[in-house]
C-alpha cells in the first residue's frame, strides 16, 4: 500500500535517496576517469553533481547545465518560467564528461544536454550517471551508472527533493510540466 511521505504519495518500493546516492557513488568510484568533469542538469542533477564531487576520490571540476533552450517540447509547452544560466567553468573540447541527472525517464533531457554540450566544444567522451532509472525511454539513451531502478506508472513523476543536506525521493501526479 502507498504511504504518505513528507513530499507526497510514496509508493511502496521507492528507494531511499541517500542509499541510492551511495550506490551510485560506489559504481562510479574507480570507473570514472580521474580527470572527468561532472556536469549536473538543473535542478536535481546539479545538486547531485555537488554531492558526487565530494563523494568521489580526486578533484572533479563541477559544472551545471540548464537545457531549457534545447528542449524538444518548447513548441508545445513554451519556455520554462525560470531558466538558470549554464555554467561550465572548464573547457568542454577534448574533455571526459559525466552528465549527471536525478531521474532518467524518456531520455529527452539527456538528449538536450548532449546537444547543448556540443555547442561548447567536442568532448572526448560523455558518460551518464543517474540516481534513479525509471524506464520508459523514448530515445535510444542508456545510463553508464545507475543508483537504483524503480517502476512507476506514467501518471506519476519521480521527484528529487532536498531536506537540509539530505536527499529524498517522492512522486507527484504528472503535470504538463516538461518531463525528465
Amino acid at each position: 500500500m502507498p504511504t504518505e511521505g513528507p513530499h507526497g504519495r510514496m509508493p511502496e518500493g521507492l528507494p531511499d535517496a541517500e542509499r541510492a546516492l551511495a550506490a551510485l557513488a560506489d559504481k562510479m568510484r574507480g570507473a570514472v576517469a580521474v580527470d572527468a568533469k561532472l556536469i549536473g542538469i538543473y535542478s536535481g542533477g546539479a545538486w547531485l553533481a555537488e554531492r558526487l564531487a565530494a563523494l568521489l576520490p580526486g578533484e572533479h571540476p563541477v559544472g551545471f547545465i540548464d537545457v531549457s533552450f534545447y528542449r524538444d517540447d518548447y513548441g508545445q509547452k513554451g519556455l520554462r518560467a525560470k531558466v538558470e544560466t549554464t555554467t561550465l567553468p572548464f573547457e568542454v573540447e577534448g574533455s571526459r564528461i559525466v552528465l549527471i541527472d536525478d531521474v532518467l525517464y524518456t531520455g529527452r533531457s539527456v538528449r538536450a544536454a548532449i546537444n547543448e554540450l556540443f555547442d561548447y566544444g567536442r568532448p572526448e567522451r560523455i558518460e551518464l550517471a543517474v540516481l534513479v532509472d525509471r524506464g520508459g525511454r523514448e530515445l535510444p539513451i542508456e545510463a553508464t551508472y545507475v543508483g537504483a531502478r524503480v517502476a512507476v506508472g506514467r501518471e506519476l513523476s519521480v521527484v528529487l527533493n532536498r531536506a537540509g543536506d539530505r536527499f529524498e525521493l517522492s512522486v507527484e501526479p504528472t503535470t504538463s510540466a516538461p518531463r525528465a
Binding site: 533552450f69 513548441g75 519556455l79 518560467a81 531558466v83 544560466t85 547543448e116 566544444g121
Partner: protein, 323 residues
C-alpha cells in the same frame, strides 16, 4: 465614457501575446523577461552563440522607419535563436507603391510569418497590426513593437531596466534622472512606465519646457529644468537622444546652447552619486547630449546596454514564440 478592452498585448490568460508597450504590464512579466535574459547574456559569450529555440520560425523585421541599429539588434537576437530572419525596409518598398500597412501585413501572413518586429513612425501602428491579426484569427502570430512614433519602445525600456538591475541589483531605493527630449521620446515613455512598475521611488525628467510634455507629472515623474538640482544624488542618469532636426528651430535655438544647459559633462555628473551609472539609448550625439569624456568614462554603461539589448530581445522572442 465608453468601456475599452484590456491591453491587447496580453491574452485572456494574462500571458504575453505581443509586446506593444510597458504601460500596464504586470511586474511579474517584466521580471520574467529580465530573468530569462540572464542566461542569454552568457550564450553570447560562447563560441557557438546560437540556441535552437526558434528553429523553423520566420521573423519579419518590418521597418517603416530607418534604423540600422535597432534592426540589427533584433536580427542578431532572432538569428541567435535560430529563426529565419527577413528584413523588410518598407519605407522604400510597398507603401511607396500605394499598398496599405495592413495589406503589407496580410501579404507577409500569407508567407507564413511567425513574428513581426515592427518599427513605425506613427504611434499605435503595432497595436493596429496586433488588432488586425486577431480580427483575422491570426493570433498565433506575435508582434513586437520596435518603436512606434513617440509612443513606446518596450524592448529598449526592458534593456534599460536590465542594465539598471545589473549594476544596481534592485529598484526600490533608486533615483533615476531622464534628461533631454522627453516630449518626442518613446524611449523615455517606456522607461518611465517600466521604472514605475518596478517600484523606483524617484523618477526625474530634466529638460526645457519645449521638450517636456505638458502632463508629464501625471506619469509619476518630478520635473526639473536645471541639471544642478535635477542630477543631485541620482543613482542612474539616462541621456536621451536629440534628433538633429530638433536641434535648431522653435524647440531649441542651437545644439550648443542645449549642450551648455543639459549636456552631460564631468562637472554635472559629479553632482550625482559617486557610483552613478550613465546610460544612453544610442546613437549618441557627442558634444550635444553628452561629453565624450563622460560617454567613454568609468560611469558609462552605454556599450553594455547594447550587449544586454540583444539578450533581452532574445528573451522576449523566446517567451512570445513559446506561447
Amino acid at each position: 465614457m465608453l468601456s475599452k478592452g484590456p491591453n491587447p498585448q496580453l491574452n485572456a490568460g494574462g500571458e504575453l501575446q505581443h509586446l506593444l508597450t510597458l504601460e500596464g504590464m504586470p511586474a511579474a512579466i517584466i521580471e520574467r523577461i529580465l530573468d530569462t535574459a540572464v542566461p542569454f547574456v552568457s550564450i553570447a559569450e560562447r563560441d557557438v552563440k546560437k540556441v535552437p529555440l526558434l528553429r523553423g520560425k520566420t521573423v519579419f523585421n518590418l521597418f517603416f522607419e530607418n534604423s540600422t541599429r535597432t534592426r540589427t539588434t533584433f536580427e542578431i537576437a532572432a538569428k541567435r535563436l535560430s529563426a529565419d530572419v527577413i528584413n523588410i525596409n518598407v519605407g522604400v518598398s510597398s507603401t511607396s507603391k500605394g499598398e496599405t500597412l495592413l495589406d503589407t501585413i496580410d501579404n507577409l501572413v500569407a508567407m507564413n510569418a511567425d513574428m513581426f518586429v515592427v518599427r513605425h513612425g506613427q504611434s499605435g501602428a503595432p497595436h493596429l497590426i496586433a488588432q488586425h491579426l486577431s480580427a483575422r484569427q491570426r493570433s498565433h502570430i506575435h508582434v513586437i513593437n520596435a518603436g512606434d512614433g513617440r509612443h513606446a519602445h518596450p524592448t529598449q525600456g526592458l534593456l534599460d531596466l536590465f542594465t539598471i538591475r545589473h549594476y544596481k541589483h534592485e529598484f526600490s531605493r533608486l533615483s533615476v534622472a531622464i534628461v533631454g527630449d522627453v516630449l518626442h521620446s518613446r524611449v523615455a515613455r517606456s522607461l518611465i512606465h517600466g521604472l514605475t512598475t518596478m517600484g523606483v521611488p524617484e523618477i526625474r525628467a530634466i529638460g526645457p519646457h519645449t521638450l517636456l510634455p505638458t502632463a508629464v507629472e501625471k506619469m509619476g515623474v518630478r520635473v526639473f529644468h536645471d541639471m544642478k538640482t535635477g542630477l543631485a544624488g541620482c543613482d542612474v542618469i539616462v541621456m536621451l537622444r536629440l534628433q538633429t532636426e530638433r536641434m535648431k528651430g522653435s524647440l531649441l535655438p542651437s545644439a550648443g546652447e542645449f549642450f551648455k544647459h543639459y549636456g552631460l559633462t564631468a562637472d554635472k555628473l559629479a553632482l550625482a552619486k559617486p557610483d552613478a551609472i550613465v546610460m544612453h539609448p544610442g546613437p549618441m550625439n557627442r558634444g550635444v547630449e553628452i561629453d565624450s569624456a563622460v560617454a567613454d568614462g568609468k560611469h558609462s554603461v552605454i556599450l553594455p546596454q547594447v550587449t544586454f539589448g540583444i539578450a533581452v530581445r532574445m528573451a522576449v522572442m523566446s517567451i512570445l514564440a513559446g506561447g
